[in-house]
Symmetry: C2
Subunit: 342 residues, 2 copies
DNA sequence: CTGAAAGCGCTTACAG
DNA sequence: CTGAAAGCGCTTACAG
């Protein structure tokens, strides 16, 4: 069974008794057309139910009005929010955005990259810093001269636009807040082999040092993954060790939830006995008690990334040097932390 | 500043000393080419760093290998999981999927539809049953003969492929489980003006009727939105009313979380004093105690939707009558419910 | 102010 | 087994 072919610009021109150039002009408002012809053309477009073919336009203009956004997994609320920020912003500039999930796999990353390049996207936004071969991916894109913005990037990339989170500073502030409230023995609950977690631990250490508090080895613990289950186990171990502490700085909301579970299991109260502060603000407001956390404005970060790309796309700024933004998370006090001095 | 133009199939042909037809044939394996020429062409493709232009191919073949998936909001984990199911499945068939967020707005829905139609997508998957004008959208798509699959659809749509959740049955089973465990006074915590919630309430009522339990008006309550904050307020009111009950059937995980908060505030224990069962299984496993819930397999639903679309796309099945699947959620017992009889 | 025609980069009958 | 050429549906100089 064959589908009825859609009408083309030629059909419209013929039916309206004008040239295709004129039809094109009224669609794109690309040159003056007399009111009379505009009226005629519009009427025919409506009658034939004509939709211009973006593929054909793309071939001629050599651009697709599509931007690719590469992320690990849209199921992670961090990336879902980033994606909305990107999409909403690009949409206003009449770009579509295609999402590509890598699941942290280099194979998927490069498979997607092939598709993306073949699709002649206008630009790429990349949140794939976990991938070992991300640098290779970046140079592939740059060799092709495709505008690129890195989000939550690998560090030390100065020849490409990037916007990232100041993890160290965020962690520093989280820890300082706890210290101001009289906490002296604070757990750092992080994740092995994670750049993000390493930076958050650095911030934590810096806060301790500046406040002349001892860095007790046993209080710095690490799980295998950013998962509540792992965090639960690690925190359970910690309690068994009988080290004393009054607060836990968890390097993510999910880790904090695992720590809460282990704490509750121990019949300890949050925040009366133990204060817990989290990071990200994805699930934090859903936990009970609601988690105090460092809020990362992912929607806004996505929005900014899109704006940076948009600037590159307006060829004017193609020669400007790369920009690097660092976003500092903000402290949000909820119910899981207690001021010991009050 | 101009970007260097990418090499075209012509450049490859010239450089390899063959015709463009031959180059096309080796790229698409669309006809036999001697090993010798294949080798030559492949080498040149690699040397020139040539990527075929999908836009040009799309123009010629009259299809884009893109599928549009329209959802309310990718930030909602329900849609994020559906989207992954759709994307992973379409990807295997070498389709890309573009995501469009409507935010429940008809205006956005139709704006996206215009883009989608202009982009000559191969097919559309639609999860927009909240939109008042969804039927109008459906007929727009059908008039254009674009293959369409509805997910989590409006009911009573028999001329289009659809896959939906059997909300009534899921709710029925949730409630029956509670009843089997000796609960006789069970709250139904739903949402006003929601088709989904209405069906879930019907299932709840059916379970009561079949078990000859009274339907007490005061125990059937409704919030304004699927939000924990609203559910908290509504449950708080309920406790103030002094009606007695031993269990709450919340129509979603988020509602259950709000109910938990109000319950804990009342110094009641979950599940010792009050059992809570939720629906969806999005956030349920993150709550403490972990919520018993009706699991909706959204990833698999997205996968199936994509498979249905793929069948339509292989023109063979274009004349087959529409299919309608209903997925029954499954009961997952966790820690928020108690068997009164044990 | 508008039209005729070239051309974007492919694929695909059609020849040979 | 391979090549020359038409054509997909647009946009855009170029004429007039």
């Amino acid at each position: 069974m064959k589908r009825k072919p859609r009408p083309t610009i030629k059909d419209v021109a013929q039916s309206a008794g004008v040239s295709v150039a004129t039809v094109s002009a009224v669609i794109n408002k690309s040159r003056f057309v007399s009111d009379e012809l505009v009226g005629k053309v519009l009427k025919v477009i409506d009658k034939l139910n004509y939709y211009p073919n973006r593929i054909a336009r793309g071939l001629k203009t050599q651009k697709s009005l599509i931007v690719a956004y590469i992320i690990p997994d849209i199921n992670n609320p961090i990336f879902a929010r980033l994606a909305r920020g990107v999409q909403d912003t690009m949409e206003k500039a009449s770009y579509d955005v295609s999402l590509y999930n890598t699941d942290f796999s280099d194979k998927k990353l490069f498979r997607h990259l092939t598709t993306i390049v073949e699709s002649r996207v206008s630009g790429i936004i990349l949140s794939a810093w976990h991938n070992p071969k991300v640098k290779e991916a970046i140079s592939l894109i740059q060799n092709l001269n495709i505008p690129l913005v890195i989000v939550h990037s690998p560090r030390n990339l100065d020849n490409v636009d990037s916007i990232l989170i100041d993890d160290k500073k965020g962690a520093y502030e989280a820890t300082c807040n706890l210290i101001e409230w009289g906490h002296k023995r604070i757990v750092s609950l992080g994740v092995k082999n994670s750049t993000t977690s390493r930076l958050r631990e650095e911030g934590y250490r810096k806060a301790l040092v500046e406040n002349e508090l001892a860095q007790e080895k046993g209080l710095i613990v690490q799980t295998d993954n950013f998962s509540p289950g792992d965090a639960f186990l690690t925190t359970q171990e910690l309690y068994k060790s009988n080290l004393s502490f009054t607060a836990i700085f968890a390097h993510s909301d999910l880790l904090a939830i695992g720590a809460m579970e282990a704490t509750l299991e121990r019949a300890l109260k949050i925040p009366e006995d133990i204060s817990i502060i989290a990071f990200d603000d994805t699930y934090a407001s859903l936990a009970l008690p609601k988690l105090t956390t460092m809020h990362v404005p992912n929607y806004e970060i996505g929005k900014k990334a899109a704006e940076i790309l948009l600037r590159r796309l307006s060829s004017a700024s193609v020669t400007e040097p790369p920009t690097h933004e660092e976003i500092v998370p903000t402290f949000i006090e909820r119910k899981s932390t207690r001021d010991l001095l009050r």
